[in-house]
Subunit: 152 residues, 2 copies
DNA sequence: TTCCTGTTGATATCGAGTTGCAATTATAGC
DNA sequence: GCTATAATTGCAACTCGATATCAACAGGAA
């Protein structure tokens, strides 16, 4: 019995299709996982979730699909300061770049947008004649909660 | 015949000793490699250079020493946008944080300091109540040379 | 010089990611 | 709706950076 294909195509899927890429069942599954993720997932987490939807999906296909999405600028790859080994995390590329802050004590990841960051990128493009394609600003430190907790 | 131990101890070595850490021959060798590096080196390059000074130095000791230096905030670990596989690169932590720009075409790494970056960090500390320990801003794109080369 | 503890090296191992290749399948053209 | 074909997939073996274990060793305080 075929799975119900009633859900809306999703932005990632529409993007890939408009670029003339084949839309396989596996890709649809992986894209839906990435698209609906509410946190930063690594490749093995994406695989696990994809397998729940379609047990046939292979590790290799996840890696290949992530590489494809990255190459097309549809997802960003994060390291999150290597706080969890050498894992890489993925998120849909947002409209506006943001900064990732990782608390070295509790591990919480916070996101932050800033005009200053946008201006900094503008300065770099101008002063260095460097055409920016992708940025990654990750900050390690201690979040407000952990700071006040350690003061007591 | 013992190697001449006449060279000045070096800042890294002095730092580690002042923190009460044992100064072994291997550590001295690895520190001198890191300290005199004129480019960003990965672990295997550091090993190769260390072995030229002391063929006894083991891979494992290089990894352990780098981890130690990182933990003490004496070196920074860079990914350089993963342009060369999963290698990590190391550099002595500078007085003032800088940005790394990686050209996606020629691979050149450029460094850049900016008041805006310093102000951005200040904003984050203030607005997010986040105590910054380490930052990493890496930018991928196309350098001036490659941009003008591709226009012809 | 001695002793104790931190450090090292050899080996095995881990885990993320990749490669080669035969089998499968999406899709364009009829 | 078929068919052809080129892209995609799954499997297995593999690469490579990094880590764990543990016995042997050595820095440095007393």
């Amino acid at each position: 019995m075929p799975l119900p294909q009633t859900e809306a195509p999703g932005r990632l899927q529409a993007e890939l299709m408009s670029r003339g890429l084949r839309m396989t069942h596996q890709r649809r599954t992986i894209l839906s996982v990435v698209e609906t993720a509410k946190q930063h997932l690594d490749a093995s987490q994406i695989l696990r979730r994809a397998r729940k939807l379609d047990p046939q999906v292979d590790r290799v296909t996840v890696y290949r699909t992530l590489k494809l999405l990255k190459r097309h600028g549809l997802v960003d790859e994060l390291d999150l300061m290597h706080m969890q080994g050498e894992k890489h995390f993925y998120e849909r590329r947002p409209q506006r770049d943001h900064i990732h802050m990782a608390c070295l004590r509790c591990g919480k990841i916070t996101e932050f947008e800033s005009d200053l960051f946008d201006r900094l990128k503008g300065q770099i493009q101008r002063d260095c004649q460097f055409h920016i394609v992708v940025t990654r600003l990750e900050i390690g430190g201690y979040c407000a909660q952990c700071r006040s907790a350690s003061k007591q």
